[in-house]
């Protein structure tokens, strides 16, 4: 069985736009038959949430990346999830990286 990834989507508000980003990510992952658990967090809460569950990927949907994310976690700039343009490339690159890491 393939590993189920844990992905954090982070932005400033964890409300309106984050749910749009989350929905877009889910759709893109479903289209590739990838099963993943996605959580939305506010950027300020990231350090604590990363310690708590250790996600495979952190996607920064909006704004600056906080300096304090551990190096072994993949950080992706998620602007495509905000704009709607370039989502396929973002998701493909992310999955390639994750597979290589396991392999």
């Amino acid at each position: 069985m393939e590993k189920k990834y844990l992905i954090y989507v982070a932005c400033g508000s964890a409300a309106a736009s984050a749910s749009l980003a989350r929905r877009r990510l889910i759709d893109a992952l479903n289209a590739r038959n990838i099963d993943a658990e996605i959580e939305i967090h506010r950027i300020t809460e990231l350090p604590g949430q990363i310690e708590a569950r250790k996600p495979d990927v952190v996607i920064i949907a909006a704004g600056q990346t906080p300096a304090s994310i551990p190096e072994n976690i993949l950080v992706v700039k998620g602007i495509p999830l905000m704009t709607g343009f370039g989502i396929d490339k973002l998701v493909d690159d992310m999955l390639t990286f994750l597979k290589n890491k396991e392999g």
Partner: protein, 464 residues
């Protein structure tokens, strides 16, 4: 025709899903996806109405009583941007703004007047709001749509103008922020920085690091927790000043965070429901060959960008206190108690933050100057917004005389355009004076500060 009218009369809960479903099909989205998301929109409207009824029956009368104890006949409540936008989406013609806004954006792009394709469909509500306010005062739908289009085009131009610095400072390459209620403060913010703040020697070096402050604040600064503090503070005031039982402190301490938290959730559902339209608009744009090879910036929502910017967030927390104090000190002038939108005050400081490249003190001074205007416009739009809420049958509790939202008040550009036109059309010259003076000042600031966004972007590039 009678059938159509009777559906329109059923209100947004029924009408919006139908309108959006048809629109999604026109944009060639799959039937199943369109249906599912359209239903979500109806669900969201029911949720919004439920939240409104549940929290306002506590908050509204308490604020009203506080106002009366302070000698103000009607102290209104800030119901938040979510509810305010839901009210403006509730007009039978509101959904039309989406295709109209899209076509106008397309034309303006073709003419080469803008580089922006605005993919932030949800925030087309800024133009809907412009139309709604015009409509309430004039009942003229053509005029309402015309002014909405004018506001859209100017907002796109503001997005173009600010894009060099917003891409660099907020780290969002390839995008622009044609987001009316934030970017329309930029002419003032950039002019204030250029004319005054950049010339005061003591202010240029700030030792405070916003990121470490923000980290220390942690979850104590999340919107729901802010609601708790605001609710408790106002509850104490209602108890002491208006002489209500002390239990009001506990009631407000739950009702205000509930309003902020639940409103955010309901709008999340509504935005999820708009997905097919958002995707449809994007697909049409993506498939078009017309703009290939041209530099295009994608317009996105400025809200989450501002709320992710440490300087704006840290300064915004001080800003919330300033908003409350200003209203408590001058209630007869500001007329609306800031409440739900206090959680997003940081976004009204984000262009002040960009203008100073993140200098905390300069951001606070600059953003507070423009915030006074935001509060004044909040009260100026209160009466038509309240009327709109009643017109579309929102469940305002009995005895609630006035509602508005700070975010509505941040719509400075719509205010500058709508007020003078309405004043002329309805023969109320007194409506024209303040917006005309501020409008001239706004234009002069834009001209004076026209070089700022590029200059700041160049400086940020060098500092890297």
């Amino acid at each position: 025709m009678q059938f159509v009218q009777s559906i329109l009369n059923l209100g947004p809960t029924i009408m919006m899903p139908i309108v959006l479903f048809i629109m999604a099909l026109i944009f060639r989205q799959p039937v199943g996806k369109s249906l599912r998301h359209s239903i979500l929109v109806g669900v969201a409207f029911i949720g919004i109405n439920a939240v409104l009824g549940a929290v306002l029956s506590t908050i509204g009368p308490a604020i009203q009583a506080l106002g009366q104890a302070m000698g103000i006949e009607a102290l209104g409540t800030d119901i938040g941007w979510g509810l305010a936008s839901a009210i403006t989406w509730s007009f039978s013609w509101a959904g039309l703004i989406i295709p109209v806004g899209f076509v106008i954006n397309w034309i303006v792009l073709l003419l080469g007047w803008t580089k922006i394709f605005d993919a932030d469909i949800w925030n087309y509500w800024h133009w809907t709001f412009t139309a709604a306010m015009t409509y309430i005062w004039t009942k003229n739908l053509y005029l309402a749509f015309s002014l909405a289009i004018v506001v859209e085009i100017i907002t796109l131009k503001l997005g173009d103008w600010t894009s060099p610095v917003t891409q660099k400072y907020f780290d969002i390459p390839g995008t622009a922020l044609p987001h009316t209620e934030t970017v329309n403060l930029a002419p003032f913010n950039f002019a204030i920085e250029k004319a005054f703040l950049s010339k005061i020697p003591g202010l240029q070096k700030s030792k405070l690091d916003p990121e470490s402050i923000q980290k220390k604040v942690g979850f104590w600064g999340e919107p729901m927790m802010l609601g708790l503090y605001i609710g408790v503070i106002l509850g104490v005031l209602v108890w002491l000043v208006a002489g209500q039982p002390a239990t009001i402190i506990l009631q407000m301490g739950i009702a205000v965070p509930a309003m902020i938290y639940l409103e955010g959730r309901m709008i999340g559902i509504l935005i999820d429901g708009l997905m097919p339209i958002v995707d449809g608009v994007r697909d049409v744009f993506q498939k078009s060959e017309r703009f290939k090879g041209r530099e295009i910036l994608i317009g996105i929502d400025a809200g989450p960008i501002g709320l992710a910017n440490p300087t704006s967030v840290v300064v915004g927390m001080v800003g919330m206190v300033i908003y409350l104090l200003l209203t408590l000190l001058f209630p007869s002038f500001f007329k609306i108690m800031p409440l739900a939108d206090l959680a997003i005050v940081p976004i009204y400081y984000m262009f002040a933050a960009a203008a100073s490249k993140g200098n905390l003190v300069k951001t606070l001074i600059n953003g507070t100057i423009t915030s006074v205007l935001v509060l004044a416009v909040t009260s100026s739009f209160a009466q038509p917004l309240t009327e709109a809420a009643k017109l579309v049958n929102y469940a305002l509790p009995a005895g609630m005389l006035l509602v508005s939202s700070v975010d509505v008040g941040a719509h400075i550009l719509p205010w500058l355009i709508v007020m003078p036109v309405v004043g002329i059309v309805t023969g109320q010259p007194t409506m024209i004076i303040a917006p005309a003076i501020i409008g001239v000042l706004w234009v002069l600031c834009w001209i004076y500060a026209h070089d700022m966004p590029q200059k700041l972007a160049d400086e940020l590039e060098k500092e890297k």
